[in-house]
């Protein structure tokens, strides 16, 4: 039997009850969220069950919603069940003061650098990550540049003295 979004939804609700919520299907991809304490349990459940078998992590990233008080940062997992060829999107929200989320590196080796990148840009502190340090930016950087409060540099600024490029 082909794995449908409804089946996945049903299986998740059976297992986690009300805690897995906000089921949506934007552009056909099943999207849901869970409390951040449960993220590993949900991932493990999706990984282990033979009829689900979401064993391929396509992508992991964060989104910053500054107006969402108490749940400013979202970590978004894109998972792919290669046997059933179904993709799902799974989100956990965390507040910006204590952005602690459990690391998925034990389950997916692919999550290692993706979590480092997410930490680098959004400051999500992945608990249990073997080597959580900046990956694309310099180590000395003391802020998380993809958060919404940091604007792009203004193109017309004149105060910057750059010998090489003559500004």
């Amino acid at each position: 039997m082909a794995l449908t979004n409804d089946t996945i939804k049903q299986r998740l609700t059976e297992k986690f009850g009300e805690q897995v919520q906000q089921f949506q299907e934007p552009y056909g991809m099943l999207t849901f969220e869970a409390p951040k304490e449960l993220n590993l349990k949900v991932l493990q459940f999706l990984f282990d069950e033979d009829d689900l078998a979401f064993r391929f992590m396509t992508d992991l990233q964060a989104v910053h919603y500054p107006d969402n008080k108490g749940r400013e940062l979202a970590v978004v997992y894109h998972l792919h069940s290669l046997t059933a060829n179904v993709r799902i999107r799974f989100k956990v929200f965390t507040d910006i003061q204590t952005p602690d989320v459990f690391s998925a590196t034990a389950l997916f080796s692919a999550a290692n650098w993706m979590e480092r990148e997410t930490y680098d840009f959004y400051g999500i502190n992945f608990i249990g990550h073997p080597n959580l340090k900046r990956i694309l930016n310099v180590d000395e950087m003391d802020y998380f540049p993809m958060r919404k409060e940091y604007p792009l540099e203004e193109q017309t600024r004149v105060d910057k003295d750059d010998e090489m490029f003559g500004r």
Partner: protein, 407 residues
Amino acid sequence: MSDHHIKLPEGSIEKQTTTLNLGPTHPATHGVFQNILELDGERIISAEQTIGYIHRAFEKIAEHRPLYQITPLTDRLNYCSAPINNMGWHITCEKLLGVKIPKRVDYLRVIVMELARIADHLICNSIVGVDTGAFTGFLYVMQYRELIYEIYEEICGSRLTTNIGRIGGFERNFTPVAFEKLDKFLREYPKVLKEFENLFTRNRIFMERTIGCGPISAERALNYGFTGPNLRAAGVDYDVRVHTPYSSYEEFDFEIPVGSTGDCYDRYLVRNQEMWQSLRIIEQALRKVREFKGKEAEIFHADVPEYYLPEKKDVYTKMEALIWHFKIIMGEIDMPAGEVYQSVEGANGELGFYLISDGGRTPYRLHFRRPCFVYYQAYEEISKGAMLSDAIITLSSLNLIAGEMDA
């Protein structure tokens, strides 16, 4: 104790291993990234990768730009096959905006994407040859990559960072010269590819250097998020073109070549086979394009004036086109709110675009799933215990593009 033992200063601890900085600017790394290798003799004990030397904050920049201005950013991801990135981005936008694309445009896109795939694989495979000491193949095939670049040039005017196409289609129809050049390429290229294979595939030196070099099992490859030829070389037949078809790929007849051991030789073979399959796809697409007659044969974009940048001559002569041109260029087109993930089969793996729109004029969040960023982290595991010279071949055979990795 040997007589040649070096006398170390009093109190120093003798280090048994050598630390070697491979990169960031080393001729063998094909891009700006660094490997700090710990060597025991010539064997690698550990490799620590440092990346981000050409990070340009594309995701941040994209949050401040209207959709059509993001296309040139995608060029600079995998610059060996920029048209695939461009098309992937257009397809993502069209999915969000709900634009329906005419069949002819789909086929034209397929032609361009497969040309880009051939160009990319050609570079990668011939570079593996260079790293094993065979320079001839590389120089020889470069002339034929030139043919592909001339086709790009005929279609969009540029060669490397192409910015090809628009949201909704192409900027102009393919000219008759473009079709002539395509025919020339299809006529000449198979011979060259055959010759290239003759140079390498059963070459004793090449085989000895690449077989068993840098292998990865299917299970580990999946866990590491491998995609594209690297995953298929390990024996998993996952291909985005087949699993989640886009741009009418489901209408084409082609095979997914797979390897078994996931070593450099298998990766080489898979890429070579894929070039043959790409040729097949281009031929089919060309046949389909030529079946359109009359008015249909002139279609090169969808009829969506609110998203498709109008032709320049219309902007000068028609009021409506001028208005749309102004609105699009100034970025005054609101897009529907929503989130969309769209992936295409890039030349080195699944290239994904995760686009969140809050109904504004620029993306709220855009994330590129860059295939080589995801699979380069496996390099440490692959190269552990290998010889230094093998590690170099593995590096080039993984088809790493620094521009894509650092985004």
